[in-house]
C-alpha cells in the first residue's frame, strides 16, 4: 500500500523542539503524557478522494449531530410521564383538556418555552433528513459496488444504522403522546400481538400490561434518549473507523489504481470542506424548522383510545410498512391451532425478508459472480447492469409501498377511489419492479454501448463533410491513437468517456481541483514532503550539535 497515508513522521525533531507558543506548550503537555501526535498526524494526513456522491453519508452524519444537540435541549423540558393532567398552558383550544404530562410538556415546549417550537421542529426535520440521507447513501454504496470485499462489514453496519434509525424515529414520534403517535403505538401493539405464539406476551411485556398502560412513554424515552442514540453513536464510530482503516473507495480514472488513494488531505482541506458542509446541512435543517411546520401535535390533540383521525400516517421512513399493511390482503391463517393475523406478514415477515436480503447481498453477489477479490475502485452503475437492475427493482418495490402508505391522500388529491388505489398498489408492487429491472438493464447496456462507440469511432464533432461521391459523413474526433482503419485503440475501462468536443483534454489536469484552493498534483506534493523531511532532519541534526 502507499503513499500519502504513511506520511513521514520525523523522529527526533519533536523531542528537541522547545515550544514557544501557548498552543505549542499545550501540545507538548499532552504529547508527553499521551503520545498521540504521531498517530494524529497520520490521521490528519489521510487523504479523502472526492466525488460528489461521497457526501451523502456526510449529510446523515451531520444530521445525527444536529439531532443530538437539539434533542438534548428538548430533554430539559420534556416530561416522559403518562400521568393525567388538566392543561392550563397558552394554547387556548386545549385548555382544560385532560392529557398526559408528556403531551402537556410537548405543548409547553411548543408554546411557552423560548425557542422551543423551532428547536422541536429542527429536531424532527433533522430526523427525517437523517433517514433520507442514510437511504440515498445506501443507494450510492449499492450502485457503485462499494460494499464489495473488504467492505461488507461496513455495509452491514450501515444497515444496522438504518434499522436503529427506524426504531429511534418511531420512539421519538411516539413520545409526545398525541393522537397520531398514540394511533401508531396502538398499531405497534397489534403488530407485536400478531407474532405467533409469543405475541401476546411480547406486547404485554413491552407495554407493561394492557394497552396503553402507564409505562410505555417512559420506556420509549429511555430507548430514545439513551439506549438507541448510544448504540447509534457506537456504530457510527465503528463505521467511520472502518472507513479510515480500509480507506475510501474511488472511481476509476487516470492515475487511479486498486493500490492507491488520491484526493485531499483530512486536514486542512478536507476538514474545512466538511466543516463548511456541516453548516450547509445545519442551515437547511434550521430553515425547514423555521419555515415549515412539522408534527403540529396541537392540531392532533392528546391521545385518547376512543379517538382516531382519518389520515393518521407515520413519518415517511415507516411509511413503507404502512403501505405494505394497506396492500396485503386480510388473510388469516390457522397453523397448529394458532391464528396468524394478516398483520404479521406485511409488518414483520416482509421487512424481515427485505433487510435479510439487503444484508446478504454482498455475499450473494460474491458467490454468484465468484468474485472474491478485494476492491478499492468503484464501478459505474452502467458497467454492472444486473446489479443496477436489481437495485432499481428494490427501489421501485420500496417506492410502491411508500406511495401506498399515503394512498388515501393520493386518492383524495386526484379524486380516485381508495379501492382503486389499493389495487393499483397491489398490481404495481408485483409488476413495476421487474419492469424497472428491464428498463435499468437496457439503459445500462445502452450507455455502455455509447461509451464503446465513442472509444472506437471518436466524438461526434458536428461537422458534416460531403465526400466527392456526394455522400455526407460526420467527422469524428478520435480519443487516442487509431489503427489502420481509423478505429480507436483505447480499451473500455469503465471510466467516464468524454462525449463532447469541449470535454476533451486530460480531464485530470485540465480542471482546477479543490474547494478552497487548488489541489496539487501528487508528484508536487511528494517533492514538497521530501523537502520538508530534509529540512526537519537538518534542523534536528544542527540542534543536536548545539545541545551536544
Amino acid at each position: 500500500m502507499t503513499t500519502l497515508n504513511e506520511a513521514p513522521t520525523v523522529k527526533g525533531a519533536r523531542r528537541f523542539d522547545k515550544p514557544r507558543t501557548p498552543q505549542g506548550k499545550a501540545g507538548k503537555f499532552f504529547e508527553e503524557r499521551l503520545g498521540l501526535a504521531g498517530g494524529l498526524r497520520k490521521q490528519l494526513n489521510k487523504v479523502f478522494p472526492d466525488h460528489w456522491s461521497f457526501m451523502m453519508g456526510e449529510i446523515a452524519l451531520y444530521s445525527f449531530i444536529i439531532l443530538i444537540l437539539t434533542g438534548t435541549f428538548l430533554t430539559f423540558f420534556f416530561d416522559a410521564s403518562m400521568a393525567e393532567v388538566r392543561y392550563d398552558g397558552s394554547y387556548v383550544p386545549l385548555q382544560g383538556v385532560e392529557m398526559s404530562r408528556a403531551y402537556a410538556s410537548t405543548l409547553h415546549i411548543s408554546f411557552d418555552v423560548r425557542g422551543g417550537l423551532i428547536l422541536r421542529q429542527i429536531h424532527h426535520w433533522a430526523a427525517l433528513l437523517f433517514m433520507a440521507a442514510m437511504t440515498i447513501h445506501m443507494f450510492r454504496v449499492f450502485f457503485t459496488g462499494a460494499f464489495r470485499k473488504p467492505r461488507e462489514l461496513n455495509w452491514l453496519i450501515g444497515l444496522g444504522l438504518i434499522t436503529l434509525g427506524l426504531v429511534e424515529g418511531f420512539a421519538g414520534y411516539s413520545l409526545p403522546d398525541d393522537l397520531l403517535s398514540g394511533t401508531g403505538l396502538r398499531i405497534a401493539e397489534a403488530i407485536m400481538q400478531s407474532i405467533p405464539v409469543i405475541g401476546t406476551w411480547v406486547a404485554f411485556l413491552a407495554f407493561g400490561g394492557k394497552f396503553p398502560g402507564t409505562e410505555i412513554i417512559g420506556r420509549l424515552y429511555i430507548v430514545h434518549v439513551l439506549l438507541v442514540p448510544g448504540i447509534l453513536a457506537g456504530l457510527i464510530g465503528a463505521h467511520m473507523a472502518l472507513l479510515i482503516k480500509q480507506k475510501h473507495t474511488e472511481f476509476p480514472g487516470p492515475g487511479k489504481s486498486e493500490h492507491t488513494v488520491s484526493g485531499e488531505r483530512m486536514y486542512p482541506t478536507y476538514a474545512a470542506k466538511a466543516g463548511g458542509f456541516f453548516f450547509i446541512v445545519f442551515a437547511v435543517c434550521a430553515a425547514l424548522g423555521g419555515l415549515a411546520q412539522i408534527n403540529p401535535i396541537w392540531l392532533y390533540g392528546p391521545y385518547n383510545t376512543a379517538q382516531v383521525s382519518a389520515g393518521s400516517q407515520p413519518d415517511f421512513y415507516i411509511g413503507f410498512l404502512d403501505g405494505s399493511t394497506r396492500l396485503f390482503p386480510s388473510w388469516e391463517i390457522r397453523l397448529w391451532h394458532h391464528t396468524i393475523p394478516a398483520l404479521f406478514w406485511p409488518t414483520i415477515v416482509l421487512p424481515g425478508i427485505l433487510f435479510t436480503l439487503a444484508g446478504a447481498y454482498p455475499f450473494l453477489e460474491a458467490k454468484l459472480t465468484k468474485d472474491r477479490a478485494k476492491h478499492h475502485l468503484l464501478q459505474r452503475p452502467r458497467d454492472v447492469p444486473v446489479r443496477t437492475g436489481l437495485g432499481a427493482m428494490a427501489i421501485t418495490f420500496y417506492g410502491v409501498l411508500l406511495l401506498s402508505g399515503g394512498n388515501d391522500l393520493i386518492a383524495k388529491a386526484f379524486d380516485i377511489s381508495l379501492n382503486a388505489m389499493t389495487w393499483a398498489g397491489r398490481i404495481g408492487m408485483l409488476l413495476a419492479p421487474p419492469l424497472a429491472y428491464v428498463i435499468a438493464y437496457k439503459a445500462c447496456i445502452g450507455l455502455q454501448r455509447h461509451d464503446r462507440e465513442v472509444l472506437e469511432h471518436g466524438i461526434e464533432t458536428g461537422i458534416i463533410k460531403r465526400l466527392p461521391n456526394g455522400e455526407f459523413i460526420e467527422i469524428h474526433q478520435p480519443l487516442g491513437a487509431v489503427d489502420d482503419h481509423g478505429h480507436g485503440l483505447l480499451e473500455y475501462a469503465g471510466t467516464p468517456v468524454p462525449k463532447k468536443m469541449n470535454k476533451l483534454g486530460n480531464p485530470q489536469t485540465a480542471r482546477v481541483k479543490g474547494f478552497f484552493r487548488p489541489v496539487r498534483e501528487k508528484a508536487e506534493i511528494e517533492a514538497e514532503l521530501a523537502a520538508l523531511e530534509q529540512a526537519e532532519a537538518e534542523r534536528a541534526a544542527s540542534q543536536r550539535e548545539l545541545t551536544d
Binding site: 383550544p93 397520531l180 415549515a292 377511489s417
Partner: protein, 300 residues
Amino acid sequence: MTDDTVDADSDLGFDPAVSDRDVPTAARAARASKAPSSSRGGGLRSKVSRKVSSVLVLIGALAAVGGGYSLLAPSSSADQTALSAADVETGRQLYESSCITCHGSNLQGVQGRGPSLIGVGSAATYFQVSTGRMPAAGQGATNNRKPAKFNEQQTQQIAAYVGSVGGGPQVPTGDLRGNPQNISDGGELFRLNCASCHNFAGKGAPLSAGKVAPSLNNATDLQLYTAMLSGPENMPVFSDNQITPDQKKAIIDYIQNLKASKDPGGAGLDRIGPVSEGLLIWTAGLGVLMVAILWIGRKS
C-alpha cells in the same frame, strides 16, 4: 358559498387560539398590545403573543408563508329573520320549478329519480341546497359541493317550504357559535365524532367504496350545523340527543377557529400530517442538499 362575515383579523403573527368574534376591533388592538384584559381567553392570548413574538422574530417571515391559510372563516350566519307564510309560498314556487321533477309534487319522491323529502326537514334541505348539492345535476351524479344555485334567502325559503310540508329537523336560528370558553370541549367532541372521517384538521379523507368525506374548509356555521342534524350520504345523523345544540355550537366554534388560525410553526403544509412532511424533506430538504453537493463537486 355564503360567507357572511369575513374574519380577516389575524394580523398577529400567531393567533391559533381564540375566537375573535364579537370583540370590537379597538379592544382587539389593545389586547394585542398586551393591555391587561378582563376575559380569560384574551389575557392568555396576549401572553402567548408576547412570549411567542420573540420566537417569531427568530423564525422570520413565517407568518407570510403560513398566511396561505386564508382567513376567510365564515362566521355566524345571516340574520335569521322569521320566515313568513309568503316565504314558504315563494319556497314552494322555487321547489316546483327546480325540484319537482325528481322529488315529486308532494315531496313524495319520484321512482328512480329522487327520494321522498317528507320528514327530512328544513335542515337537510338547507344543507343540500346551500352547498349546491341540490338540485342534483342529473341521475347518478355524485353530489359534491358545488356553487349554490340559489341565494341565501331563496335557500331558506325552499327549506321552509319543505319543512312546512313534511316536518323534520329544523334549520336553527340565532347565533351558532358557542361560548368561546368551550372551544376545547368542541375540540374534544370534534376529535371524537368527526375526525375519524374528516381528519384531525377537517381536511377530509376518502372513505371506502369511492365515497369521500369532504374537507370542511368551505362550510359555514349553518352548513356545519345542518350537516350534523341531517347526516348527508354516508355521514351519520347527530341528533340533538347525541350531541346537544350547545355541543354542536362548540364543535362549530372549534372548527371555524381552527380554519382561521395561523400555523405557529411556519407553512402549514396543508395540515395533512406526515405525508406532506415526507414530501418536503425529499424535495426541499434533500433536494437542496444534493444541489449543494453537486455544486461543491463541480468546484473541485
